[in-house]
Subunit: 240 residues, 4 copies
Amino acid sequence: MLRRLLAEFLGTGLLVAVVVGSGIAAQRLWPDDVGLQLLQNSTATVLGLAVLILLFGPVSGAHFNPVVSLAGWWLGRRTGDGLTPAELAAYVAAQCLGGIGGALLANTMFEVGAGTAATERGGTGLLVGEVVATAGLVLLVFALARTGRGALSAPAVGAYIGAAYWFTSSTSFANPAVTVGRMFSDTFAGVAPSSVPGFVAAQLVGGAVGVLLVLVLYPDAGRAADAVVVPHPEPTHARA
Amino acid sequence: MLRRLLAEFLGTGLLVAVVVGSGIAAQRLWPDDVGLQLLQNSTATVLGLAVLILLFGPVSGAHFNPVVSLAGWWLGRRTGDGLTPAELAAYVAAQCLGGIGGALLANTMFEVGAGTAATERGGTGLLVGEVVATAGLVLLVFALARTGRGALSAPAVGAYIGAAYWFTSSTSFANPAVTVGRMFSDTFAGVAPSSVPGFVAAQLVGGAVGVLLVLVLYPDAGRAADAVVVPHPEPTHARA
Amino acid sequence: MLRRLLAEFLGTGLLVAVVVGSGIAAQRLWPDDVGLQLLQNSTATVLGLAVLILLFGPVSGAHFNPVVSLAGWWLGRRTGDGLTPAELAAYVAAQCLGGIGGALLANTMFEVGAGTAATERGGTGLLVGEVVATAGLVLLVFALARTGRGALSAPAVGAYIGAAYWFTSSTSFANPAVTVGRMFSDTFAGVAPSSVPGFVAAQLVGGAVGVLLVLVLYPDAGRAADAVVVPHPEPTHARA
Amino acid sequence: MLRRLLAEFLGTGLLVAVVVGSGIAAQRLWPDDVGLQLLQNSTATVLGLAVLILLFGPVSGAHFNPVVSLAGWWLGRRTGDGLTPAELAAYVAAQCLGGIGGALLANTMFEVGAGTAATERGGTGLLVGEVVATAGLVLLVFALARTGRGALSAPAVGAYIGAAYWFTSSTSFANPAVTVGRMFSDTFAGVAPSSVPGFVAAQLVGGAVGVLLVLVLYPDAGRAADAVVVPHPEPTHARA
């Protein structure tokens, strides 16, 4: 279990480091063009997220996201699949700590001073965007797991986030742990602490919508809760 | 069948939400650079379309396109494959309603007022572009299905549309349901109602050309009509 | 055989349509930024070429390139693999006619007048670029075929050309049939007839270098000549 | 063994040619926009690196990187996997010579004069960036090898470097042989000789951190040392 928590911590942390770090790089290269900043930011995230899922998936499943862990627990609770409540709590803690650590790592690499972000993000449109983004993410990972295509999760989740950066109005945070982490860098990808509760609430609503769609479109998805995002036997059982 | 229609509705809807929504985002970020608007719009569509095919393919086949459904019915009608006429009508209705719903969702997320689009699109060159774009799409999905490579449809169709955005003069709508949906947002990706009949006609001609090429290059493709775009056993038969 | 020649004709033609058409689109959108023109042109080609290999590969092998067909004949001639001399001549003719047709199709879609291109391309550095680009392409397709990974040719050849657009000084034509086709559109991707002999000569030299490297790194590659670029049983033998 | 060394020489050389050559092309097209230079440079590298791993992997394993070879030797030394010390020395020499040759090839194609680079790169943030970049790379290739997913190394390593170009402050050299090669072109991707020792030291530290993480997350990874980056039976044993 410690190994799995380490994987969630490192994976979520590096995900935030990719989001925040590439945002800083882009901000410095195109200080006057927010569009190119976002294009570069989303491209780096597509590639980085896919790699992180490949890297840590066989250890912990590569949730990197409290909403995904929560949905897995809820969907699998009747059949004995998914995380137990204690494991869920540990996963969420590791993810949030990782998210904070990732922001601090990006700050260190780019020599950015400490301090929380000042960028406020909110409004009805943006919150609807977060609901849509999170619902789609939950639906995607459970649909792939339920149909035995967990091996496609890495490129698929990366591609999904790459599209959602642009087609949602919120640039698709879709992840409470990443949202928490992004408070800790006052740079392109930052989010003001005052905006976080609204975002997290919208993400939880989106997660519930996603679970509902999963149940309608892919009944019995709960049996796949152990296979989200990536099937993860303990590594000693992995193929040599 | 209801589940399949829901999948077609959601899939076509989210496809239009991706196209329209990313167009709005790009328009706001680069108000003076149509090239970057299109680059970003096409990139988001490549990624989003591939994900939507992965997501809904095992339920409904992920047609998301009346021309594809129509071609499947026509090619499979002699061997008992493909949709029945009643199913075809239901699919087309779900796709068109989804397309409209997707445009409205994008408007909601980006807080854009209601109203149909004012952008007129037409002319001989553009209509030739739509014929080419739709013919290529139909040929692609049946070629993959006929050669047992339906698992590649998601990235392949995404990549095809990404190229066709640029190499055709019409930016490749290639889909009547998406064309209908794109009437309902007066933004970057919108199309004026007066231009829609010409586009749909060109798409139907393109579909016929595509079917002809399928028959020449891949005889017996009709037997694959059930496997377009993605083979879709009812989910209860899917691999657990 | 007619079906295979049709596939080579359509495939090479659509490849040139992608290259020329996306070049015209980019030229119109960014008349003052050659860099973005090339970025967009290369991106469309990466996606389009991969799709065309998927589409026509099972019929003709998806050579689309006289140098590849020639290398296949030469490498396979002793073991009875690859094209016969008569088939080689027919393939090359279909490819060159396709290349011309593709340029004319792009001109039609974008309503560009007829006429050959005025852009001269040459000089030692550029010709070295063409040698490197063509050698790498030949090495790639035979390496994949020889190691049983022909199914990866579509994305791999697309990605290779995408890199070679940028890392070679010639933007990597690497294909005599495409070079011939690109004479027939006086737009971004055009090449003046006077520059064509030098390019084709450099491509043939590159092909020879590629064959040499294949023989050193992957002995017995001749046995794979039938599997280049994609293994292509007649479609009636394909998996149903 | 000579064939494997030739593969390492050519692969590392072409990797540097891609990095340096695309940098020159971008510099000429956008002399005033370092951001677009880096975007284009990273895109070409993502594509090119993936192709080179596919191309040479079955011959030599496609290390192209002294840190990867060194980590393979160290992890596999107790179980008799990985390179022997003599092979390690030969691999590193071939990689460094290849790196230099690749820079010279790029200079030749783009008709750039000889001379070492003047661009100094350093500072604590950048060196932390190199440590992170190299650690992640080592962890990725051994994680994939250990879990039997070496076939994914080509796109995964390409994607990783594409993200690391942006999320690390150093643009992620992460490779001593590439660092050495990049001294030999005074262009966009160049690095001054005086900056090289610091970069190489940081890369070695990063390699050690990566090995440590491998051992914690994927015990028994040493048994996979022969399968890094790509499993590489001698080509005569490859699938025909």
